[in-house]
């Protein structure tokens, strides 16, 4: 059970709601992940972090699929179910 209240997407500012819409499109999902909402609880942290994430996860010298595999590996080693 989460130990904090996870902000609902419609409680965020319009700018952050637009960012959440981009996140949904990025992942091809119809909901805003909790992590995105948690990060945007402090927009001064969440917004630049989100931009850095988007930049880092795009196709580049490594493909997006390879990057998602790396992310999965990090999560596995850290035993992070989320």
């Amino acid at each position: 059970m989460e130990i904090v209240h996870v902000t609902e997407a419609d409680e965020l500012t319009p700018e952050d709601q637009r960012f959440c819409e981009a996140t949904k499109a990025w992942f091809k999902i119809d909901f805003v992940p909790k992590m995105s909402r948690v990060l945007l609880t402090i927009p001064e942290f969440g917004r630049p972090y989100g931009r850095a994430s988007r930049r880092a996860m795009m196709d580049g010298a490594l493909t997006r699929a390879q990057k998602e595999l790396i992310a999965t590996m990090v999560s596995a080693i850290n035993v992070c179910e989320y």
């Binding site: 992940p33 909790k34 948690v38 580049g60 595999l69 990090v74 999560s75 992070c80």
Partner: protein
């Protein structure tokens, strides 16, 4: 692959085995069999390992495993299978093993898998991007754990 990488790193770092490529200040906490002392069947495994990794010496962690030749043979064959080209290519697997080693703070694993990934074609831009992803997900996994976030992606999303 995650399992063998993590286990081999645990043995190598736990026994403080010297790094295979970088200058290493570590002194092994245990004696390692010398290559010239091992039985012919173990020597054959050593040769396979050196060929697979294009190395001129046997990695310290496999020398340690050679104390039990039967174990070495079985474990090495499993590692070789896990790291061979299949649906994922060897380079991608080595990048993943490098990411696992960084995340687990394994000096031995970072040294070993970074060298192997570079040998297989890892460029500087690829390395930069891989480390960025490691950094990003070491951030969010810690935040998720600290807040005990429950998964919100259905396990069937994107399943093929």
């Amino acid at each position: 692959m995650a399992g063998t990488t993590h286990a081999v790193n645990s043995v190598a770092d736990g026994l403080r085995l010297p790094l295979d490529f970088a200058l290493s200040p570590r002194l092994a906490a245990v004696p390692l069999p010398e290559v010239g002392e091992v039985a012919p069947e173990v020597k054959a495994v050593f040769d396979e390992i050196m060929t697979f990794y294009a190395m001129d010496h046997v990695p310290a962690v496999y020398r340690w495993m050679a104390r039990d030749g039967g174990f070495l043979q079985g474990y090495w064959r499993a590692v070789r299978e896990a790291f061979s080209d299949r649906k994922l290519d060897r380079l991608t697997k080595e990048i993943l093993a490098f990411a696992a080693s960084m995340t687990a703070k394994s000096d031995y694993g970072v040294d070993f898998h970074l060298r192997e990934a570079r040998r297989l074609g890892l460029s500087d831009p690829m390395l930069t991007e891989a480390v960025e992803v490691v950094q990003l997900f070491n951030t969010v996994t810690k935040i998720a754990d600290a807040l005990q976030l429950q998964p919100d992606f259905p396990h069937t999303v994107g399943k093929r």
